[in-house]
C-alpha cells in the first residue's frame, strides 16, 4: 500500500472545523452530479436551491423562521449526544409540545391577556419534558434503550395529535377539515420584522443557544455531561451521577423540543393541524452533528439546513425538482461529515522508511 493510515496522537482541531466545510463541498459536488443525472441544468438548479433564497429580505427572514426550531431542538439534542444519551424522539416531543401549547391557546380562545402566550410556552416545555421523561425513566430504571423508546413514542405522538384534530379539537366551523380553530392574537407570537413571518421566538432561540454554550463550556454541569459521554467510568470515578445526568439531558432536550412545538403553532402555523413539522425533530439530529455538538456551531448549521428546506421549495417551484431532494441533501451532508471526520482522528501519509531515533 502506498499510503499509511495512522491514528493522530491529538485530534486535529483545525480539521475539526474544516470537516463540516469539506462535507458541504462534497455534498454540493454530489448535488451537481445528481441534478445533471436527473436532467436538470445543475448550475441553475444549485442556484435556485442554494443561492436565490438568500437574495431577498423575505428569503432571509424565512431562513430564520425555519432555522429557529432546528436550532432550538439541535441545541438540546447536542447536550444529550455529548453524554451519549441518544434522544431521537424530538419529533414526538415537539408534537406533544405543540399539542399542549395549542390546547392552552384554544382553552383561552378569544381571551385577551399577556399571560396566554407564556402559559402556552410553559405548557409546551412541560409536555415535551414529560414525554421525554418516559424514555428517561425506562433508561435509568430498567436500562431500556432510549433510542428505540423515544422513537416509538414519536409515532405515538403523531397519532395522538391526529386523533385530536380529527376529534375533540376539530374546528366546529371548519367544514370538517382536520384542523383546530385559528388562534386569537393573544396566543400568537409577535412579529419582529414587519412584512415577514419572523417572530419573537427566534430571539428566544438565540438566547437559548447562548445559555447552552455557557452551560456546556463554563460550568461543572456541562463538564460532567462531557465526561459521561467520553468516559463513563471516569464519570463514576469522579463521583458524577449518571442517572441524574441522563434525566437532565432528556428533560432538557425534550423541553426545548416542546418549546419548538409551541413556537411553530403560535408562530408560522397559528392553529393545530395533523402535520406541524416537516421532520424538524429528525433533521435537528443532522443539525446537531453538523454543528459539532457545539451550541454556536449549531446556530450556523441550523441556518444551513434551513436553507436546504427553503431551497428545496424554491427549486421545486422554479425548476421542478422533487421536494424529496431536500431529504437526500440532508442525509448526504451527514454522511460526508461522518466520513470527513476520519481525517480528524487519523492521518494519511505516504509510506516512507522511518529514520528516527528512539527518544
Amino acid at each position: 500500500m502506498p499510503f499509511k493510515i495512522e491514528a493522530r496522537r491529538e485530534m486535529s482541531r483545525r480539521l475539526l472545523f474544516a470537516s463540516p466545510l469539506l462535507a458541504l463541498v462534497l455534498t454540493v459536488l454530489t448535488g451537481f452530479v445528481l441534478f445533471a443525472a436527473m436532467g436538470h441544468d445543475p448550475v441553475a438548479a444549485l442556484y435556485h436551491f442554494g443561492i436565490a433564497p438568500l437574495l431577498s429580505l423575505y428569503g432571509l427572514s424565512e431562513l430564520m423562521v425555519k432555522a429557529a426550531p432546528l436550532i432550538l431542538i439541535g441545541v438540546g439534542l447536542a447536550v444529550g449526544f455529548r453524554a451519549n444519551v441518544w434522544n431521537i424522539g424530538a419529533e414526538g416531543q415537539l408534537t406533544l409540545g405543540a399539542v399542549a401549547a395549542g390546547g392552552v391557546g384554544l382553552m383561552f380562545w378569544g381571551e385577551e391577556g399577556f399571560w396566554v402566550l407564556p402559559l402556552m410556552c410553559g405548557a409546551a416545555v412541560a409536555a415535551g419534558m414529560a414525554y421525554a421523561a418516559i424514555p428517561a425513566f425506562l433508561k435509568t430504571r430498567f436500562e431500556v434503550n432510549e433510542i428505540l423508546t423515544s422513537l416509538m413514542l414519536t409515532y405515538v405522538g403523531t397519532l395522538f395529535l391526529s386523533a385530536l384534530v380529527y376529534g375533540p379539537l376539530k374546528d366546529p366551523a371548519g367544514f370538517n377539515f382536520p384542523q383546530s380553530r385559528m388562534f386569537t392574537d393573544s396566543a400568537l407570537l409577535p412579529i419582529v420584522l414587519e412584512g415577514t413571518r419572523l417572530h419573537a421566538g427566534t430571539v428566544v432561540v438565540i438566547l437559548v443557544a447562548a445559555a447552552a454554550w455557557v452551560l456546556m463550556s463554563f460550568t461543572i454541569v456541562g463538564f460532567q455531561i462531557r465526561v459521561l459521554g467520553q468516559a463513563p467510568a471516569a464519570a463514576r470515578y469522579a463521583g458524577f451521577h449518571r442517572k441524574r445526568l441522563i434525566w437532565l439531558c432528556l428533560l432538557l432536550s425534550g423541553g426545548l423540543a416542546g418549546l419548538a412545538g409551541a413556537f411553530e403553532v403560535a408562530g408560522p402555523i397559528g392553529q393545530l393541524i395533523p402535520v406541524i413539522t416537516p421532520g424538524y425533530g429528525f433533521t435537528a439530529i443532522i443539525v446537531a452533528f453538523l454543528g459539532r455538538l457545539h451550541p454556536l456551531g449549531i446556530v450556523l448549521s441550523g441556518l444551513l439546513i434551513a436553507l436546504s428546506y427553503i431551497g428545496g421549495e424554491n427549486a421545486q417551484v422554479e425548476v421542478g425538482l422533487p421536494q424529496a431532494v431536500t431529504g437526500v441533501f440532508q442525509g448526504l451532508l451527514l454522511f460526508f461529515l461522518l466520513g470527513s471526520d476520519f481525517l480528524v482522528r487519523y492521518r494519511v501519509r505516504m509510506r516512507a522508511r522511518p529514520i528516527m531515533r528512539p527518544t
Binding site: L138, M152, Y155, I285, V328
Partner: protein, 309 residues
Amino acid sequence: MNPESAVLVMLTVMSAATPLLFAALGELVTEKAGVLNLGVEGMMLAGAVSGFAVTVTSGSATLGILCAALGGAAMALAFGVLTLTLAANQVATGLALTIFGVGLSALAGSGFVGMPVMPLPKLAVPGLSDIPVFGPLVFGHDALVYLALLATGGIGWFLAHTRAGLILRAVGESHESAHAIGYSVIRVRYLAVLFGGTMSGLGGAFMSLSYTPMWAEEMTAGRGWIALALVVFASWRPGRVLLGAYLFGGVTILQLHAQGVGGLGIPSQVLSMLPYLATIAVLTIIAAGPWRGRLDAPACLGQAFRPPK
C-alpha cells in the same frame, strides 16, 4: 369467528410478520458480528422502492426482488464504508442512513406514487392448497414468506453449527482476540453488514410488492425500528425472532381488525398506536425481567475497530 375468517386472520398475521422477520434476522446477523446498524428503516425503504420500481418497469417481480436485495445491500455498503473503513460512530451513521434512506426513497419513488402492481403470486399446489384450513395456511403464501421462514432456520443453523458462523460470533464477541488470532475483523463485519442490508431490502420488497402492493413515502412506518427492538426481544436468537415477529404481526392485525369493526368507540389513531406501545412494553419487560442475561448481547456490539498496522 368461523374457520374461514380465522384462517384469513392467520394469513394476514403471517403476512404482517414477514417484513419484520426479514429485517430482524438481517440485523441479528449484523449485530452478532458486533455491528449495530440503526439504519434498518432506511435500508427497508431503499428495498421497497427499488423492488417496486424495477417490478413496475420491467414487469418481472423476480428481478424486482433481486434489485430490492441489492438496494438494501448498497445502503449497507455505505454504512460499512463509514463505520468499518472510516471508523465512524455506528449510532450516528445508522441514524444518517435512515434519514438518507427516507429522502432517497422518496426521491426515487416520486414517479411511482399511486401506480398499481400485481401482488406476488401465492403458491398454489393443486390439491394440497385446497385442503380446508391446513391448505391455505401451509401452501397459500408467496415465495418471500417461505424464504423468510427458511432464512430463520438457515441462520440458526449457520450460527450454531458452521465454522463461518463460529468466526462471525467470535468477531462480535471480541474483535481484539479475533484479530490477534488472525481473522479479518473488518472483512467479516462487511459481510455481516451486507447480509443485513440484503435482508432489510427483502423485507422492504415484501412491503411494496405483497403486504400493501404499492409505493408510498415512508411506507415502512417504523417497522425497521421495531425490527431492531425484536432483536433485543429475541436475545439474539433466530428462533425467538420468529416468535417475536409473529407476535408483532398479531398485534398489527389485531388493531386493524378492531378498526374494521368500528373500533369499539376508540379512535382509530389510538388503535394504531398499539404496535409502537407494544414495542416499548416488550423492551421494558425484557430489560426488567428476571431472565435478563447480559451474556446474550455480543460483547463488542457497537464498538468501532481499526486494526493496528
